[in-house]
């Protein structure tokens, strides 16, 4: 019964979205406040209906109602509650429902929170958001309905895959989807502004909070996914330039570019066309990601279920929605006012440079992901594009971006003082160079690329510090005044500093981990030992463990350094009964910011006692790789809480005192 209510609610949501489009478009056409309010009501109604369907599916998973096809295929009574709940979005159908939930949720939020928008723009935004809702809900209802029943329900569900039963993996899709779909509001605002023919500072200000929220959520989602890959895959790596990773990375890069260009449009009214273009592109990349991940056109280590029909439908959705968006852009953008002029050395120039480099970086990821497909279609000869390509193209572009990054915030709008900025950054540059030289002295072996990377990371962190020092006039006014200024800094400024600082932290971690990781692998008998990164890892014992649905060998490894005990780790190698799949549960020893990453491999029978393959990685400063993006996302959220961006604040201020 509950599943039927859910299925009905899902169809109702589709109907309400159609109504939302009609009413809101009519509201704009007839300039009717009543129709507009009705359209907003429909938007909120559609969200509530999808939420009902989502709750119904979740209920079916929680109570293991195997008469629902999706539950029977993707759940099992022995799954812990948390993973039954997470099972709701674990399958293709469920994840599309999550996508629709986020889409209508953002639509309802735009309808409810957009009261400060001009009426026409708001009605068109709600209408466009409704149109996206119609398209994706229709796809979900007709092509991948998660709530269809089975005629003969099985007694037990088909899936109990414990690999998925991991907290980071369970919670990362909601973040990722909220991020992907958050960009839909930006897309709708761009379409609405193009129809209205007006892209101005106020429009850019409305775009910013949505872009910030989506970007922050995407940052968290990608980081959680990366962290899961790091500790669950057992490769010791955290980013593989895999097509599925790239699919999530492209919207992130575009959203980052949009945040910066929207600032230029907001503060100076300049680059309106480019900002609108980015707003359209960011969500288009989200949809491209959804298509790539589900259609199976790309081979990926995350092999997703291949379903050509669904892939074609998603490709059609992508083509039609972004096609219409960009066609509208091509038609209306030439009429947009170009905005104010600026000098070569100015904040605007720095932000444009940021955008150029981020766009080129996105082009790298896009080409690297799709080029093998294009090449094979054209010539019939397949090629591979792997991590070395990205290191050679994405790397230098990012290096250049990082090099100019700290300069931007120190330049004034319109016409900046290059000499003053250089003077203020002198200590930061010295600090970065000193840090790189320190790296040269301490880290061995010396690696030129690694040292440049360390210098760049330190440059970002020192640059963020220099920028804050400049803002509070430290050392130039009495300390008490500086402290007062520090307290008075707007949250938007803190957000920027945090985001840039987070990038610096990430770069340091990534460079250190990549450049100076140590690796050792030996076939060890019990009592044997290997050395890695100055640590001595001894295999004390291996005992069989009888898991609920797997058998495992669990090793006890004791780690010492110069004879001093450091830690003990108990990595496992699990074999799951029916399929004979083997997985490893790694052991991690945290040493300050660094990780000792320990993996138990296969057992080998030899002439003497049996041996086990033990792999050990010394991952220096690996914690920073994950801490950096968290700081960046935090920066986004702090900036989002800036009073200036809080929706409705402007309206209150306009009231007579």
């Amino acid at each position: 019964m509950i599943a039927e209510i859910g299925a009905f609610a899902l169809s109702l949501a589709l109907a309400l979205s159609v109504v939302q489009v009609g009413l809101s478009a009519a509201a704009r056409w007839r300039r009717s406040v009543v129709l507009a309010a009705a359209g907003e009501g429909a938007a909120i109604g559609a969200f509530l209906a999808v939420a009902t369907a989502f709750a119904a599916l979740m209920h079916a998973f929680v109570v293991s109602d195997f008469s629902v096809a999706n539950v029977a295929a993707n759940s099992h009574t022995e799954k812990p509650l948390l993973y039954r709940v997470a099972g709701t979005w674990g399958s293709h159908e469920g994840s599309m429902l999550l996508w629709c939930l986020a889409l209508t949720g953002f639509g309802a939020a735009a309808a409810g929170l957009g009261r400060s928008l001009p009426r026409g723009l708001r009605a068109l935004t709600v209408a466009t958001q409704g149109l996206l809702g119609v398209v994706f809900l229709a796809y979900t209802v007709f092509a991948s309905n998660p709530l269809t029943r089975l005629d003969r329900p099985p007694v037990e569900g088909r899936s109990l895959n414990p690999l998925l039963q991991d907290p980071a993996l369970a919670v990362h899709p909601p973040f990722l989807y909220a991020g992907y779909v958050g960009l839909s509001v930006v897309f709708s605002l761009a379409v609405a502004a193009l129809i209205e023919g007006r892209v101005d500072a106020a429009w850019a200000r409305w775009v910013r909070p949505w872009a910030l929220a989506a970007w922050s959520l995407l940052t968290v989602g990608i980081t959680l996914g990366s962290f899961w890959a790091y500790y669950e895959l057992g490769w010791g790596g955290w980013w593989f330039w895999d097509p599925v990773e790239n699919a999530s990375f492209m919207p992130w890069l575009m959203a980052a570019a949009l945040l910066h260009s929207a600032m230029v449009t907001e503060k100076r009214g300049a680059l309106p066309g480019w900002t609108v273009f980015l707003a359209l592109a960011a969500f288009s990349f989200s949809m491209l990601g959804a298509f790539l991940v589900r259609s199976g056109v790309l081979t990926s280590v995350h092999a997703f279920a291949v379903d050509p029909t669904r892939g074609v439908l998603l490709l059609a959705i992508l083509g039609v929605t972004s096609g219409l968006g960009f066609a509208l852009f091509a038609w209306r953008a030439p009429r947009l006012a170009p905005g104010g002029a600026f000098a070569p050395i100015s904040r605007e120039s720095a932000l444009v440079l940021n955008n150029v480099l981020l766009a080129a970086a996105t082009a790298t990821v896009l080409l690297g992901t799709l080029y093998p497909l294009i090449r094979e279609a054209l010539t019939g000869e397949p090629i591979s594009v792997g991590p070395p390509y990205f290191n050679l193209t994405f790397g230098p572009l990012m290096g250049l971006l990082i090099l100019v990054l700290p300069v931007g915030p120190l330049l004034a709008w319109k016409r900046g003082d290059g000499h003053a900025a250089a003077r203020r950054l002198r200590s930061a540059a010295l600090a970065a160079a000193a840090f790189a030289l320190l790296g040269l002295a301490v880290a061995s072996p010396a690696r030129a690329a690694g040292l440049v990377g360390l210098g760049l990371g330190a440059w970002l962190i020192a640059g963020a510090a220099a920028e804050t020092i400049e803002r509070i006039r430290l050392f130039r006014v009495p300390a008490r005044d500086s402290l007062r200024r520090l307290g008075g800094l707007p949250r938007g400024a803190w957000g920027m500093t945090l985001a840039h600082l987070g990038l610096g932290i990430f770069v340091l971690g990534a460079v250190f981990e990549t450049g100076w990781k140590a690796e050792a692998a030996e076939a060890l008998p019990v009592g044997g030992a290997l050395d890695v990164g100055g640590y001595h890892v001894a295999l004390e014992s291996v005992r069989p463990v009888d898991g609920p649905n797997y058998d495992a060998d669990q090793a006890v490894l004791s780690v010492t350094r110069n004879g001093q005990p450091i830690c003990r780790a108990e990595p496992e190698r699990r074999t799951y009964a029916p399929g004979g799949q083997t997985t490893s549960e790694i052991g991690l020893c945290y040493r300050g910011l660094s990780h000792l990453y320990l993996v138990l491999g296969e057992r080998r029978e030899t002439a003497g006692p049996p041996t086990w393959l033990v792999r050990a990685y010394w991952n220096p400063w690996a914690s920073l790789i994950f801490a950096g993006p968290v700081v960046m996302a935090l920066g986004g959220l702090v900036s989002l809480s800036d009073r200036r961006l809080r929706l409705g604040v402007g309206r209150r201020r306009e009231r007579p005192a």
């Binding site: 997703f304 440079l353 080129a360 790298t364 397949p382 594009v385 070395p388």
Partner: protein, 150 residues
């Protein structure tokens, strides 16, 4: 289905860094390091998207053996890669070759960057010259102010 598929793929992947298996290693550490560097650039052809350094597949094992033998025999990196491409096609290399067919791939990102810089410079230049109002703008201003006057 998506996550189940993912898991199935991961199963093959989970016990990785196969190349560091001590039983396969070359005795000369310098040669072994060179072989490992080459492994990172060679695709495991039957796997989803992995280098032979990572994969435990049978084919990856064979490819590693071929590379190690050739390194041991003193062939250069380029010779070994030529040998592999002659045998398996360009698909086997994870770094696409700098060839005419791949020009868009290698030059694309930098072309985007250069085009962006060009547009920025063009804009800076044109805007610098039209800080003053143009003739058309002056006329429009005049029209607007005369419209508003009454």
């Amino acid at each position: 289905m998506r996550l189940q598929g993912l898991l199935a793929a991961l199963a093959g992947v989970l016990c990785l860094a196969a190349a560091s298996d001590p039983s396969e290693r070359l005795s000369d550490p310098a040669q072994e390091a060179r072989a490992r560097a080459i492994f990172h650039d060679v695709r495991c052809l039957v796997c989803q998207n992995e280098s032979i350094d990572d994969s435990e597949a049978e084919l990856a094992h064979d490819l590693r053996q071929i590379v190690r033998e050739q390194v041991h025999a003193g062939r250069s990196d380029a010779e070994i890669k030529r040998f592999l491409t002659a045998r398996y096609g360009e698909f086997v290399l994870l770094t696409p070759r700098l060839s005419a067919g791949n020009i868009a791939l290698w030059a694309g990102p930098f072309a985007v960057a250069l085009a962006g810089l060009g547009l920025l410079l063009a804009r800076l230049r044109s805007r610098a010259s039209d800080a003053e109002l143009t003739e058309a703008e002056l006329q429009r201003l005049g029209r607007l102010s005369s419209e508003e006057a009454p």
